[in-house]
Symmetry: C2
Subunit: 307 residues, 2 copies
């Protein structure tokens, strides 16, 4: 089943202990789409500026990602500059230029209308809500957000949460959103806000999924996936979006959303996140093969299964 | 096979968001022995003061733990007072009185000499080394330590490490000992110091085991166990020692140290750690049944296994 994703398609300038890249292709919707494209059809809604050319578009097309929903506007594309020199687990933002995103009004191409899965990647909750409302018939809606929206745009974010089946956020965001330091209690609180499932990403410690009691069959039990022990994290940018792409892409590829499908989706999420950090930006995932993905899936199984 | 453990048997005064306890039975060797006693015979080497009476001794005897190596000395038992009010993941020490431990000279009872497993719980590395040297014929030696010894008694600690097959420490300790923030690299560095296996405990995120290449058969691959998602952590004191007791106790109960035995041992370690934090001090583990342990073991399997 096809996924429509709305979010940023951007240029990133990134500095990490492993080096730096200037203006490489980035953005939440980019990382999400590339990761999800290994599992199912993906359609992107975003806006880019005049600096976004055929070379960038080709990265999407090489993965059969539908870019008809990427609007080309006058001006410059979204730009983000960040550094991980102090802490590989958290970017220090040096600059954010919304540029063409500042006046973005998402339009949904007719060809996207039959998408059964919708992913609202991390952008202004006002935009997330608009897309959600324009696609009322989707089967499953998941979304992401970040500390900035939780802190300063809470009302708009709470409106978005009401329309979500699933939310994917990290530890800090879950604690901040729920106002509770205990992750089990935080998860329960978040699941009263709309989503019946919550994925909490723990960075180098993997991720957990919580289901509201009664939701998603017997999978209402918590499930945990580890992260791959990595000797070198080259660039953490996009790891969370790649996790989401692997997770949601795998779910969309399944005939039925069984508890086992959710568990395998968590593994695929972790697998895609682990590849994402091995190179800068989209470099690793853009060059990935399905065989590499399945080999690493089996590595994850060995890492966690007792027999 | 029997385990001899050397370490502190102590009184703890503990304050956590869930309440406080004054002078409850504690100490690394106490928590370790109780957890390990569900799997195998355990023999303790320690020193206590005149304040340690039949009531405390009865806690050990109820679990068939051999206390003939607990020396009764003039003076008071080791005392520790700590608080978790600010951070459930790290105790703030308010007071440490070594008391009878200050002049402790470990003596190994004849009846302990045929122990095949030895655990050097967290105490002065000088004492750990003395016990290690007095028991040269044991089959497997594991140990624990803490930031204080790593920082201020490094030379003595490095001598102990040379005589260990396995070390069990937490993230911070591993990074500090190796001088490397990346845990995979830190693990490799620690395994050049003596131990061929390293268990790194990640608190609420579970634990990982690393094996030196070629050591312990195919288990030279990393393995990860999660921690149980807990709604309330009443008292984290002794969680790490209980993990070690479950892990090492299970290993000692196995006819052969296969890769699968190590993996199951990691699960049993996590299981015992998860029980330890549910009540103050030894309250939960002292009342535990083997059935509860096995039920929780299965819960851990469901938490992590995809099929």
């Amino acid at each position: 089943m096809a996924i429509t994703v709305v979010g940023s398609v951007a240029y990133d300038s990134i500095e990490t202990p492993a080096g730096r890249r200037d203006r490489c292709l980035g953005g939440a919707a980019t990382h999400f789409s590339l990761a999800a494209s290994f599992f199912t059809d993906v359609r992107v809604i975003a806006v880019v500026g005049e600096d976004f050319g055929p070379e960038q578009e080709a990265v999407f097309h090489a993965h059969k990602i539908d870019t008809r929903g990427i609007e080309h506007a006058k001006g410059k594309s979204f730009f983000w500059e960040g550094s991980y020199l102090d802490n590989l687990n958290e970017a220090q933002t040096r600059q954010t230029d919304l540029n063409v995103f500042a006046s973005f009004e998402p339009k949904i191409p007719e060809a996207y209308r039959d998408s059964e899965f919708l992913f609202l990647a991390n952008i202004d909750p006002v935009l997330q809500r608009r897309v959600r409302e324009a696609m009322p018939d989707v089967k499953l809606v998941a979304g992401d957000t970040m500390n900035y929206w939780i802190k300063d745009h809470r009302a708009a974010l709470l409106e978005v949460l009401k329309g979500l089946d699933m939310l994917l956020i990290n530890d800090t965001e879950a604690r901040m959103l729920a106002g509770d330091n205990n992750l089990v209690k935080a998860a329960r609180a978040v699941m009263t806000m709309g989503p019946s499932s919550l994925v909490i990403k723990h960075g180098e410690y993997g991720a957990s999924i919580y289901h509201r009691a009664g939701a998603n069959g017997e999978s209402s039990k918590t499930f945990k996936t580890p992260a791959l022990p990595l000797e070198e994290v080259v660039d953490p940018t996009g790891a969370g979006d790649s996790f989401a792409g692997g997770f949601f892409g795998y779910l969309a590829s399944q005939p039925e959303l069984t508890p086992a499908a959710y568990r395998r989706a968590m593994f695929y999420g972790s697998v895609m996140g682990s590849f994402a950090v091995e190179r800068f930006g989209t470099e690793r995932i853009a060059q990935l093969s399905r065989k590499e993905i399945d080999d690493r899936f089996n590595e994850f199984r060995e890492l966690t299964h007792i027999d």
